[in-house]
């Protein structure tokens, strides 16, 4: 078949049993074909596929992402699958990609650590006409020239949707503390600007009282929230840029003697099981999904590309969201 288009989310009833695959939005922008890219046709089952992961598989998102791609590579039956992990070091990712090329990778799937800075690696791939599919973080480079296409979520949109959830959940009046991701991370920047812009536009009675970094980590999210709750006892909602910090904030709220989900609402982005289960339990208010299961969509895109079909340069994932009304039903699709 071809890439899924159209439906917003898999029908919740059946998806609960299995992991939810990604759903792409219909392609509207420019496309890229094998001819455009001037690549060679490769039979996937005869190909060496390299995957360059950016960050350690030590959090649910990265684990699910790597797992999904590894599983799908096996399912598709690629001849050889090699993976590397840059451990959050940009220069290591460049050399990882070069290593993959040196080891004969004919197709590359890259989860970029950063939007900029991978140029030498891309150039090396380009020199050998190796198609590069980038996932989850968009590169500042020319699609269909430097790489084939980008598959991933719109992080700004995620921030915006979290703001919408928060506005709806609080009835439009709240004092919000924002737990930022790590500084200098593009995801942090996008999820922050999306959120703040939306609040400015649609939440006139919502004030952001603090923005502090929680480094995407649960313990940091917890301790920062504890501090903020003491200096600003009137905080009524928390927006955390990932679930881990949200869960840390939840622990802090409990230890401050307040009820998470009621006295202080919590919204976050990711869609991990731990967080969604808390919505089910009524102690968490909303989660915007950032679906990490890139495997099927990525290999489908590669297959299409090799078949000569023009694939979208930007394949944007339609992330679902969890709120008290659907969490119980959809918790099975959380990762």
């Amino acid at each position: 078949g071809c890439t899924n288009t159209g439906t917003t989310a898999p029908s919740s009833g059946t998806a609960a049993a299995t992991d939810a695959a990604q759903t792409a939005a219909p392609v509207t922008g420019p496309t890229c074909s094998l001819a455009d890219y001037k690549g060679d046709k490769i039979d996937l089952t005869q190909a060496t596929v390299g995957f360059s992961q950016s960050e350690k598989e030590d959090n649910p998102f990265r684990i699910a992402e790597t797992q999904s791609i590894t599983d799908e590579a096996a399912k598709v039956g690629v001849k050889k699958f090699i993976k590397t992990n840059a451990q959050s070091t940009l220069s290591k990712q460049i050399s990882d990609i070069n290593d993959l090329i040196a080891q004969g990778a004919q197709i590359l799937i890259v989860a970029p650590l950063n939007s900029d800075g991978l140029e030498p690696a891309l150039a090396a791939a380009r020199a050998k006409n190796i198609p590069v599919i980038t996932i989850d973080r968009k590169l500042n480079a020319t699609a269909c020239t430097d790489y084939v296409s980008f598959l991933g979520s719109n992080f700004v949109e995620q921030g915006k949707r979290a703001a919408d959830q928060l506005i709806a959940g609080t009835g439009g009046t709240a004092k919000v503390a924002v737990l930022l991701g790590s500084s200098g991370n593009g995801v942090t920047t996008d999820r922050t600007s999306g959120f703040l812009d939306e609040i400015a536009a649609k939440g006139p009675n919502i004030t952001v009282v603090a923005q502090q970094t929680g480094d995407f980590a649960r313990d940091k999210g917890q301790s920062v929230t504890e501090q903020l709750l003491q200096s600003n006892p009137d905080i009524t909602a928390i927006y955390a840029e990932n679930d881990e910090m949200g869960l840390g904030a939840q622990a802090a709220i409990i230890s401050a003697g307040k009820t998470p989900g009621k006295d202080i609402q919590i919204y976050s982005v990711d869609g991990t099981k731990n967080a969604v289960e808390q919505i089910v339990a009524g102690a968490y208010n909303g989660v915007i999904e950032s679906n990490p299961r890139f495997g099927p969509l990525a290999f489908q895109t590669i297959q299409d590309f090799m078949d000569g079909t023009a694939v979208g340069q930007d394949v944007i994932i339609q992330d679902s969201e969890y709120d008290p009304s659907n969490a119980a039903a959809k918790v099975g699709s959380a990762f």
Partner: protein, 331 residues
């Protein structure tokens, strides 16, 4: 004239010879382990011993080599510089901003500022008598803060568009990238400075015994000050080259770089308490770290956790071998 017999005529010579051999082992232990690893890699993986792969290892190593060279200077005096990772990032960001003024801007800007940061740290250490660990730890924090402050909290990444600057990072000669050649120059110049100049000798002396150096009338404070400037400049240069290589000044690079640099230097046989070591050892140490990473990638199926365990174990084995080799020298 009364002439004292050399204590034990021939024994003395033999002992001296033994010491020299052991000294070589100390300095070149890392190189020996490196050769072993290279052989293992070549035998074990068909894609390891290829020119492309070696070129990649060299390019990857070149930035750490330059940082490690500066770190070697510092460690030789018995100090330590934890700020290099942040200074590396600052160098990259400044190079990117500076590249709008061309190659000169891309180099002068980061080198001057990073040198100044090194000078500030050097001043606090050499003249205010503060502990290097703490001063440069504050440097690690503060300079990273500066990087974030100059990039709008890390949300903007200044890009390098000047073709000459980009060529400095990405251009190659004989399949080797420019930064590798620059690293070689740094190492050669650094080695000559250390081994063949008075300043270099005072670095060893200060590390060997600070109080004796003071009493012997060496300008101890100036020596200590200078090595931090050197380290700052080296980290800035490496950062600038890295930015040119990736044509952008990414504000988050260099996190944890200090630990890599320190371990490369120490694996290379330089004593952390100072007074002994050289840049050739550091080269071997850096290449060792890169080759270990490369070999792990050659396996290609390890999860990041397994990778961490393997590289940690590798590191432990390497330093143990290195220590045992160099210990033969102790009486």
């Amino acid at each position: 004239m009364t002439t004292l017999e050399p204590a034990a005529g021939p024994t003395t010579d033999r002992q001296a010879a033994r010491e020299r051999v052991a000294g070589l082992l100390q300095s070149y232990g890392a190189a020996i382990v490196l050769v072993i690893l290279l052989v293992v890699g070549a035998v074990g993986f068909p894609t390891f011993a290829t020119p492309g792969n070696f070129s990649n290892i060299l390019t990857q190593s070149s930035f750490l080599l330059i940082v490690g060279a500066g770190m070697t200077f510092v460690i030789l005096t018995g100090g330590i510089d934890l700020s290099v990772g942040s200074v590396f990032a600052l160098g990259g960001v400044l190079a990117a901003y500076g590249s709008t003024f061309g190659l000169l801007g891309a180099l002068v800007f980061p080198l001057v500022v990073c040198g100044a940061i090194g000078a500030l740290q050097g001043f606090l250490i050499a003249h205010a008598g503060m502990a290097p660990f703490i001063v440069t730890l504050a440097g690690l924090l503060g300079v990273r803060g500066l990087v974030l402050a100059t990039t709008d909290g890390g949300s903007t990444t200044p890009l390098i568009t000047d073709p000459v600057v980009v060529a400095l990072g990405q251009g190659e000669v004989l399949g080797i990238h420019w930064p590798v050649f620059i690293a070689v120059v740094v190492i050669v110049v650094g080695s000559v400075l250390l081994a063949r100049t008075r300043g270099g000798q005072s670095i060893y002396a200060v590390g060997g015994s600070e109080s004796a150096s003071t009493l012997m009338g060496l300008p101890v404070a100036r020596v200590k000050f200078t090595v931090y400037v050197v380290s700052g400049v080296c980290a800035g240069l490496a950062g600038a080259l890295n930015a040119a290589y990736s044509s952008s000044g990414v504000p988050t690079v260099g996190v944890g770089l200090e630990l890599n640099a320190i371990s490369a230097v120490v694996i290379g046989g330089t004593l952390l308490v100072g007074g002994r070591g050289n840049l050739i050892g550091t080269v071997a140490g850096v290449l060792l770290l890169s080759v270990i990473q490369n070999l792990i990638n050659q396996v290609g199926t390890l999860s990041s956790s397994v990778q961490a365990v393997v590289s940690g174990a590798f590191l432990a084995i390497v330093v143990i071998i290195q220590t045992v080799l160099s210990r033969t020298q102790r009486l």
